[in-house]
């Protein structure tokens, strides 16, 4: 955070919208293993692309070598409720939730999928996903004999009920993160009372692996009206009344202090089929990261979570072997408003300006000055571990102010007496926006301004409340400066999170997802309008051929990375996700995403 007052730099994470209705059908037939949508009406045999796998993970946990004791995990910030993962802002805010609930599938630290309450990850290749006309059938094979913490069976009844529960109109009052997205495309589910469920989708739903995450118990949900669920179920003063599926059950919650967990005996006996490595788990909350670091030094905690590059300097006194740093999927970027630039300078002028900006940004200087060298400058929005990452792209283009200047001159920009470039009677003076409570972003914009000033480009930096930057179309005045939805900005800095689902880019970069148009729900804040990009995004969204998806994403990445394409988004750097872990701890795999670092807590153990 959450900012979060207790965190010096919390994420301003914007999760890609995971879904939108699929567009035109794909020419390809049903094919290989994919988390994306099989969309074709044809039913040809699948073909597996060599080297593309969604489940081939590097994660190989070592066997538990010691059992017993209390695991203490430090976190900066207190989740508001157990419901946070379902009813709160972020799609995968794990913290208090991950130890207590499992979903049907989950992601590893290298963005692969693995089964949790199921025996396999359904794909086209293994027959788990079968296109059927305009829709598709998804087969969920749940673990036979798996039980909830109260001994009730985990089976298709829970899948079916949760589908209906998500669709309940009363959910609208609660701000359910998933909402009805995906569930509304389901026509029926077979397999009640069994562990093999067949979900009949009325139309293709590409990110089907994001559904039922987590899976909630039908028999427990039925005890409350949907509208009152946050007041009646999993109440933080009666946690032991709840029903859980994960490895550890919360038993007590002292807000802003800690949550206590005990092993879920049913999980260990019916799902994991082993003994728990710990007798108890405590999640201890710290008000800020500095205090958490001090607590780790004092051995108050075994693992410290939710750090990033901004706290690395404060960890200088800690044994480097205890500081685990990985490249995170969150990346800081500058979104330029192409519509605003085009209006000022025309198509050619706007394109030239964007080309020049790509070369004018000195990302190494940003890294050094703003983050103290703690991050990795980047030029690609795709996480390197993603299966669709284009390894053939080569290194990022280099900073070249001279080239930038020549591009601008060739386009007809001329400097006025005030030193600012002008074209078509319009000055290259821009409004640069960021959240006022993220000082490092304001500093970055000012630094970039200093880099652009010699070229004759000026950025007037303005900090505004977060609510102003991201407010929806009807939630804020049309003229509110720095609002991305209304396009009242020239450049804005915030962070995106790269997700494992390539289709999630659809709503962010498709030309028709300009929030100024239609129902204003689109997130194409940069107002990019590129036919090649639209074609690539549509292919990703509507095909199951992994090779075609990979090719389409490669096209997209080239458009994004090559300055010649004048893409109006400039990636600055990937965040570094940092964990503190005691040298005695085993099987801790920092997965890059700071909100799900307890993803494999069932495998953690502590040596003597």
């Amino acid at each position: 955070m959450r900012n979060r007052l207790f965190s010096m730099v919390a994420a301003s994470l914007i999760v890609f919208a995971a879904c939108s209705p699929s567009a035109t059908t794909s020419p390809s037939s049903s094919t290989p293993a994919s988390a994306s949508a099989p969309a074709s009406s044809e039913s040809a045999a699948p073909s597996v692309e060599a080297g593309i796998s969604l489940t081939d993970t590097k994660y190989k946990p070592e066997a538990v070598g010691n059992k017993g004791g209390n695991l203490v995990i430090g976190i900066s910030g207190d989740p508001s409720s157990i419901w946070e993962n379902v009813y709160d802002t972020f799609a995968n805010d794990c913290e208090a939730f991950c130890p207590a609930f499992w979903g049907l599938w989950n992601n590893t630290m290298d963005l692969k999928y693995y089964p949790q309450l199921t025996t396999e990850v359904p794909t086209v290749a293994n027959g788990g996903v079968v296109p059927k006309g305009d829709g598709m059938d998804l087969t969920i094979k749940m673990i036979d004999g798996a039980q909830w913490s109260d001994g009730q069976p985990i089976n298709c009844d829970d899948v079916i009920y949760m589908w209906h529960w998500q669709m309940d109109p009363a959910q609208a009052n609660l701000g359910n993160v998933q909402g009805t997205t995906g569930y509304e495309d389901i026509g029926s589910i077979d397999g009640a009372g069994t562990t093999t469920c067949v979900v009949h989708f009325k139309k293709v739903y590409e990110p089907y692996l994001s559904l039922w995450s987590p899976l909630l118990p039908a028999h427990y949900l039925k005890t409350s009206k949907v509208a009152d669920v946050t007041k009646n179920l999993y109440v933080d003063t009666k946690l032991t009344d709840g029903v859980y599926s994960g490895p550890y059950i919360p038993t007590a919650w002292a807000h802003d202090a800690q949550i206590n967990y005990i092993p879920n005996t049913k999980f260990w006996s019916t799902i994991k089929k082993s003994d728990p490595p710990f007798d108890s788990v405590t999640m201890k909350f710290y008000a800020d990261t500095d205090t958490e670091i001090a607590g780790f030094s004092k051995d108050e905690i075994d693992v410290g979570l939710e750090f990033n590059q901004n706290q690395v300097a404060a960890m200088s006194a800690i044994d480097p072997a205890s500081v685990d740093k990985v490249l995170g999927p969150t990346y800081e970027q500058h979104s330029w408003n192409m519509a605003s630039l085009t209006k000022k300078f025309g198509d050619a002028g706007a394109k030239a300006l964007m080309q020049a900006l790509h070369y004018a940004y000195d990302k190494d200087a940003i890294n050094t000055t703003i983050t103290g060298g703690a991050v990795t400058p980047s030029c690609n929005f795709v996480y390197p571990d993603a299966w669709f990452f284009d390894k053939d792209l080569g290194p990022c283009y280099a900073h070249d102010a001279t080239k930038a200047a020549s591009i601008l001159a060739a386009a007809g920009f001329t400097k006025g007496s005030d030193g600012i470039l002008t074209l078509n009677g319009n000055k290259a003076e821009f409004l640069g926006c960021a959240r006022a409570d993220r000082q490092y972003r304001l500093d970055t914009l000012k630094l970039v301004n200093s880099q652009l000033t010699p070229l004759g480009i000026k950025i007037d930096v303005k900090g505004v409340p977060a609510a102003t930057v991201f407010a929806g179309w009807s939630q804020i005045a049309a003229s509110a400066p720095c609002n991305t939805t209304h396009g009242n900005f020239d450049v804005v800095e915030f962070a995106w999170v790269a997700t494992p689902d390539p289709g999630s880019n659809y709503v962010v970069y498709l030309s028709t997802k300009d929030p100024s148009q239609g129902d204003h729900s689109g997130q194409n804040y940069i107002r990019v309008n590129n036919p090649d990009l639209d074609a690539a995004l549509t292919t990703v969204k509507t095909t199951v051929d992994l090779a075609k998806i990979q090719t389409a994403m490669a096209t997209f990445q080239k458009l994004y990375v090559d300055p010649a394409n004048a893409f109006p988004e400039i990636a600055l750097y990937n965040w570094t996700t940092v964990m503190l872990k005691s040298p005695k701890m085993h099987n801790i795999e920092n997965n890059g995403s700071s909100s799900v670092q307890t993803w494999n807590i069932e495998d953690w153990w502590r040596g003597q």
């Binding site: 999760v15 909402g179 202090a257």
Partner: protein
């Protein structure tokens, strides 16, 4: 005196009403609201946000929201019927008399918009930790303020006076959050002799206030107190260091004024020992403004020290308040602010009463 107290108590009602109205108005005027948490969630539609606002009554006019919160209005009522309870009687009446059940007047402070817990239960969890931290800090700094203030007054313009003055101004100038962080870095991270934060050792001690904690306390009171004490040291030092200046200077000024009075000169002329002159004659009279000043500081016992509790993750009212601000949890914010306002009003009344108790020349009759 009793008529005065009753008159003052009656006078607190409109005061509290106006205070609560002002707080509510300011909170509503500030940007943001409970629906702010959905801002960064692309899956939430405007219709869902509107439904959320409707379910929490946030789409109602502010006067209506306030009226419901106070308990004058029935949330189920329409038109003029909003003032009538479901039992057909004025909603402000107690529920056992047929009035409503909602609102402050009926002891209902609502539910937290983030956790779903009742505001009262949330506040109840936090009061004791704040009372412990604030109470001990208040006691320590008052005693130290008395001691340093007396010494500074008796040794006016001497080395002791100068040293105490410098100490007070340095302490007063330190930002609380900075001092707290420095103490953590030095004593927890570097020297590793004191806990970094929290109120108890998460590895060995149950959650404070839980049944398990009191069982633990019963079996090992020394260990429990030692653990609590070790966690109190740094936050108490922080609070004392920053807050002692004001009271110390106050005591010094009051003592200097008292020591220059004729009755003190007379006592000395009579050969009364200097210690007796200072502690029995001068201090007794100097305590008058000090006592009233301390009484005004009593609401601190409830409201807590926001910065200190935040830095040290002390699970008290101050931290609850800042969490509620961060998450736009209006019901919790209103609950904390209004109860704090009640404490302030009562503390002022107590100060006035103590004034009369300490100085027999003062009468409110």
């Amino acid at each position: 005196m009793s008529r005065y107290i009753i008159r003052r108590l009656i006078g607190t009602i409109p005061t509290l009403f106006i205070v609560s109205l002002l707080i509510y108005a300011i909170m509503q005027a500030a940007p943001g609201g409970p629906e702010q948490k959905f801002d960064q969630n692309p899956k939430i539609t405007p219709e869902q946000i509107a439904a959320f606002r409707h379910s929490w009554g946030l789409d109602q006019p502010i006067p209506v929201q306030y009226c419901r919160w106070v308990g004058l209005c029935n949330p189920d009522g329409q038109g003029l019927g909003v003032f009538i309870s479901n039992n057909g009687l004025p909603n402000f009446l107690p529920s056992f008399l047929g009035g409503g059940t909602n609102g402050v007047l009926h002891g209902d402070l609502g539910y937290s918009s983030t956790s779903g817990s009742t505001v009262i239960s949330l506040i109840a969890q936090r009061v004791l930790p704040t009372a412990i931290l604030a109470g001990i800090s208040l006691l320590v700094w008052i005693l130290l303020a008395l001691a340093t203030g007396i010494l500074a007054a008796v040794r006016q313009y001497g080395k002791a006076d100068t040293a105490i003055t410098v100490f007070n101004y340095v302490g007063f100038s330190f930002p609380t959050f900075w001092l707290g962080l420095m103490l953590i870095l030095i004593f927890s991270q570097d020297l590793k002799i004191l806990p970094a934060s929290g109120m108890w050792n998460a590895r060995t001690v149950p959650i404070f206030g839980s049944t398990e904690y009191w069982t633990f306390f019963g079996k090992n009171p020394g260990g429990a107190l030692l653990d609590l004490g070790s966690h109190l040291i740094l936050p108490v030092v922080t609070l004392v260091f920053v807050n002692i200046a004001g009271d110390s200077r106050f005591v010094r000024a009051a003592m200097i004024d008292s020591l220059n009075q004729d009755f003190v000169r007379t006592a000395r002329a009579k050969g009364v020992p200097e210690r007796t002159v200072i502690f029995r004659h001068a201090l007794r009279n100097a305590l008058l403004p000090v006592v009233t000043n301390v009484a005004i500081e009593l609401p601190f016992l409830f409201a807590g020290a926001i910065a200190t509790e935040t830095i040290f993750s002390w699970p008290g009212m101050g931290l609850a308040y800042i969490t509620a601000v961060r998450t736009y949890d209006y019901p919790v914010l209103m609950g904390i602010l209004v109860i704090t306002a009640i404490f302030v009003v009562i503390a002022n009344l107590l100060a006035d009463i103590l004034y009369a108790v300490v100085d027999p020349r003062i009468s409110y009759g």
